[in-house]
């Protein structure tokens, strides 16, 4: 871990903190109101706001988690920093792709 990764991990954590609270609020709202999948998709499809909300969330989570994975691999596995970094980048790209696919599924009509 160096100062560049530290700043990115803290910054993405700061971005995610309010987004997590909003995400939980949305879950409570959707379940309490008894919204169906069709109801939810009718609100999210074509919405730039929801696309931005979850798009930023996915990007921040991918960066944050991959830095953490790099740390865990370099400390708890025999991998050196370089190999741990490469695996972490692949992991982050995979998270970003899966997240982007999920966001596309709910905002693109």
């Amino acid at each position: 871990m160096n100062v560049r990764l530290y700043v990115w991990q803290r910054a993405t954590a700061a971005v995610m903190a309010p987004l997590v609270l909003g995400h939980i609020a949305v879950i409570f709202y959707a379940t309490r109101q008894g919204l169906s999948a069709a109801d939810i998709l009718s609100r999210t499809r074509g919405s730039i706001v929801w696309a931005a909300y979850y798009g930023i969330f996915v990007a921040a989570a991918s960066i944050h988690a991959s830095i953490g994975i790099r740390n865990i691999l370099s400390e708890w596995s025999p991998l050196n920093e370089r190999r741990a970094g490469l695996i972490a980048i692949v992991f982050g790209l995979l998270l970003a792709a899966l997240g982007a696919r999920a966001v596309a599924a709910v905002v693109l009509s």
């Binding site: 871990m1 160096n2 100062v3 560049r4 990764l5 530290y6 700043v7 803290r10």
Partner: protein, 243 residues
């Protein structure tokens, strides 16, 4: 010292990295320290036992060992405080190569002080007037972080991050760096912040706080490292140092 006619069951590490614990019986005495126990074994039971000590009064920092699983300064650790059930297991410090018995090679510990730029970089010469430092400024108070450090290596041996990441410079070197970062007379801060911001520097710390829990001088390396994290992050964002 008064002999209490009781006995201690003592296990001492013998050999190098591939050594083993060996059992000894040592008379229990009043106000007995762990260093007294080790010294008794060396003087009366086995003169080939190797261990390191000098001052015996908690100043020199050379007698630290692992006592019943925790790193301690043995000269100031009373047996009655650590020997539960009259048993003592004494080994060399963790996270350092064992030379023989209770003696470790501390070369890496002191090399990492150099790596973290734990050396004062003077900003004036002997011909300048003596610097006037106000004792009540926040920087002067923060500079106290490592002033009482005796380089015993207890924090380094207690640190899980050092165990997992041999490249980590460790709590003692970083606390020393934090003291110098806050020293108004020092002129080496850019290089120092650059050194502690690299891989293996202050950002590797997980804040487990074993260092501050076990530091015999009751220093708080975790707080000093947190200070370095803040200071280096600010310097990085301002472009004063590079990643």
């Amino acid at each position: 010292m008064t002999d209490t006619h009781e006995e201690l069951a003592v296990s001492l590490w013998r050999g190098s990295e591939d050594g083993r614990y060996q059992a000894y019986t040592v008379p229990r005495r009043e106000s007995q320290t762990v260093l007294d126990v080790v010294t008794f074994v060396q003087r009366h039971l086995d003169p080939t036992l190797s261990y390191r000590f000098a001052c015996r009064v908690g100043v020199c920092g050379s007698c630290a060992m692992t006592v019943n699983g925790k790193p301690r300064w043995t000269c100031r650790t009373h047996v009655e405080k650590v020997a539960g059930g009259g048993r003592l297991e004494i080994g060399p410090l963790e996270n350092l190569p064992v030379i023989k018995d209770l003696t470790t090679d501390m070369e890496q510990f002191f090399r990492k002080w150099q790596q973290a730029k734990g050396v004062f970089a003077p900003s004036q010469t002997r011909h300048d007037a003596i610097a006037q430092i106000r004792p009540d400024t926040p920087a002067r108070a923060a500079a106290d972080a490592a002033i009482e450090c005796i380089n015993c290596g207890v924090c380094y041996a207690a640190c899980d991050t050092v165990r997992w990441n041999p490249g980590y410079v460790g709590p003692a070197a970083l606390t020393r760096a934090w003291t110098l970062v806050n020293d108004e007379r020092d002129a080496g801060n850019t290089a120092r912040l650059q050194a502690v911001a690299a891989d293996g520097g202050c950002h590797s710390c997980h804040s487990h706080q074993s260092c501050q829990q076990l530091c015999p001088q009751t220093l708080n390396p975790t707080a000093a490292i947190a200070g370095l994290k803040r200071r280096t992050a600010a310097a990085y964002l301002k472009g004063e140092i590079e990643a």
